[in-house]
Amino acid sequence: MDMKREYYEDVQLFKSGVVLFWSAALLLGLFTFPLYAPNYYIYLLNVIMVHVILAVGLNILVGSTGQISLGHAGFFAIGAYGTAMLMSTFHIPFVAAIIIAAFVAAFFGFILGLPALRLEGPYLAIASLGFGLTIMHIIGAMKIFGGRMGLKTPVLDLGIPQLGLSLPVTNDLQKYYLILIIAVIMVVGAVNILKTRVGRSFVAIRDSDIAAEVIGVNLTIYKTLAFAVSAFYAGIAGGLFGFILGFFDPFTFNMILSIMFLVMVVVGGLGTVSGSIMGATLITYLQYDLFKNIAEVPYFGKFMLYISDKWFTTVGLENFSSMAIGLIMIGIIIFEPLGMFGIWIRFKKYWMTWPF
């Protein structure tokens, strides 16, 4: 769409002044958001931002490198359990704990990347799905992780309590700012990764792994690296998610969660950072807010309740979310394979060339 005349134009963080302006406006809006939003939305926004971190990381793997993963709930779980365990059992400060946990997740990503060197398409999807289920099962079966009873997260403390530098983060508002700062760092990091040699190697592998190998991209290194980077993002997101929940058990990280992550990436748009942000926001909002409280939506909620009462069960109405998201997944592939980013591009093109 837009032509690049020199290398510098390709690597700069913001494509133009307009993008810079709107990014700054968005950031300003997010930083001042708690001033004019009800408290419930802070919690929702925390979940959204954690999912944004994860979706951006997953998009590096699925969208940019072209490897399918249905096992990201596993990395998410490693991040959550790792951070909580390191902090409560080994008394490591939060910042170090979450980074160590994310590196552990990245290591597991590297391990999953090894079979991925020989697998592709549906085979890889199944292998990663099995990986996610395995992680869930291992955590559930081992006593030190709290088993099936779950685990309670320790107090989130940004300082080093042993040295008397205590900086506890307790309510949702404080968590909001912490997660926002981490999310911004992670998103900027992802944008930068995609503009470097590493990112271009990922894209080359996606377009054709044989051609990439011919032009000198080391497949072994870059494929496993893509898995590791993506798992690192999932680890960070998982560590934060644990603190939002306060309590979790292995079944929090089930296969449906992995599918939801993939949906965020696909709905947002493959291979774009802004797309994953949009996708994660939309899907999380639908899943956690709109579809969850479908009975309270004006008119439509009454209609759904009537249908449930007549033909279905009223208790099961909460499963409407799963149904609707299933339909969204099918619809997005049929009608808009490029996702929300594709809709945006079409809109932009229409606007720029109007009235022709």
Binding site: L129, H137, G316, S322, M329
Partner: protein
């Protein structure tokens, strides 16, 4: 539990995996789509049978027949509504569509029948046992599974080898465009494959449900194991899948006997090992990637 007993049970559950894996393979063979919704399609059909039996009180053979018709219609409808409109989807797109169908069916089933576990019984009594050889106790359920799955395998073998439609399906799998030029209505072939595999999946689903309990998520783990069986057999050959199913059942049963804690992850280990060592499976011909 003695060795022989494990063998018989493993073979029976393996036949069940093999039957279900056949449903996956039929779709993969014709349209190269791995149907992640297969388990949920079987789950939904089983729930329909459950509903007919418990709410209308029909006899079992009647419920079975209605369920079979329903499952065929569901398979054809899913292919027609969800997969056919997608123009030139990528592999990821196909996977997302079938995952979407899975989520949809799961949500619909939980909405209709609730998430609690139900009891589903076949008209066979699993506590009736025989002991033909000493140390090998075989119950009615295993006999039913083994006989039904061998009957279906036989029908499939004859069908793919000797009928026009079976030949058309094989031709479509080899080269869709060439098959079209030869006058094969490939889209009809796809519909047929989906209906057929949905039917086989529904039969396998009833066996699984009568062995454990019936709830909207009960087919998730059997799906992964059946897929492991399919991968063992090579995802392309039906005889391979039967042997793969048997092997998978045996591996799982012996493994589960030695380390009961880790029984659920056997399938994953099998998948990864087979795909890493011999990606074409144990029985399929060598797999060559088209560039």
């Amino acid at each position: 539990m003695p060795f022989g007993q494990l063998f018989v049970e493993g073979l029976a559950i393996g036949a069940c995996y093999g039957l279900f894996a056949t449903a996956v393979v039929i779709i993969y063979k014709t349209s190269e789509v791995v149907n992640f919704a297969q388990g949920e399609m079987a789950m939904f059909s089983t729930f329909v049978a459950f509903h007919i039996l418990n709410f209308y009180g029909y006899p079992f053979w009647m419920a079975f027949l209605i369920t079979m018709l329903f499952s065929i219609a569901m398979g054809v409808l899913i292919e027609f509504l969800f997969l056919r409109p997608a123009k030139h989807p990528t592999i990821l797109g196909m996977i997302v569509i079938t995952l979407g169908a899975e989520m949809f069916l799961m949500g619909l089933a939980s909405w209709k029948w609730g998430a609690e576990q139900q009891f589903f019984a076949l008209p066979i009594n699993p506590s009736v046992t025989y002991e033909p050889i000493k140390g090998m106790i075989i119950n009615n359920w295993s006999i039913a599974v083994l006989s039904v799955s061998s009957l279906i395998m036989l029908i499939l073998f004859v069908f793919f080898k000797y009928t026009r439609l079976g030949t058309a399906m094989r031709a479509t799998q080899q080269n869709k465009n060439a098959a079209k030029i030869m006058g094969i209505r490939t889209e009809r072939v796809f519909s047929f494959a989906w209906g057929f595999s949905s039917l086989i999946g529904a039969i396998a689903g009833m066996f699984f449900a009568s062995r454990a309990t019936l709830d909207p998520a009960f087919m998730m783990e059997p799906f992964l194991r059946a897929f492991a069986a399919a991968v063992l057999g090579g995802l392309m050959s039906i005889p391979g899948v039967i042997i793969g199913g048997g092997l998978m059942g045996l591996i799982e049963n012996y493994f589960g006997y030695i380390w009961p804690e880790w029984k659920p992850i056997v399938a994953f280990i099998v998948i990864v090992l087979v795909l890493c060592i011999k990606p074409s499976g144990l029985f399929a011909k060598h797999y060559v990637k088209k560039v």
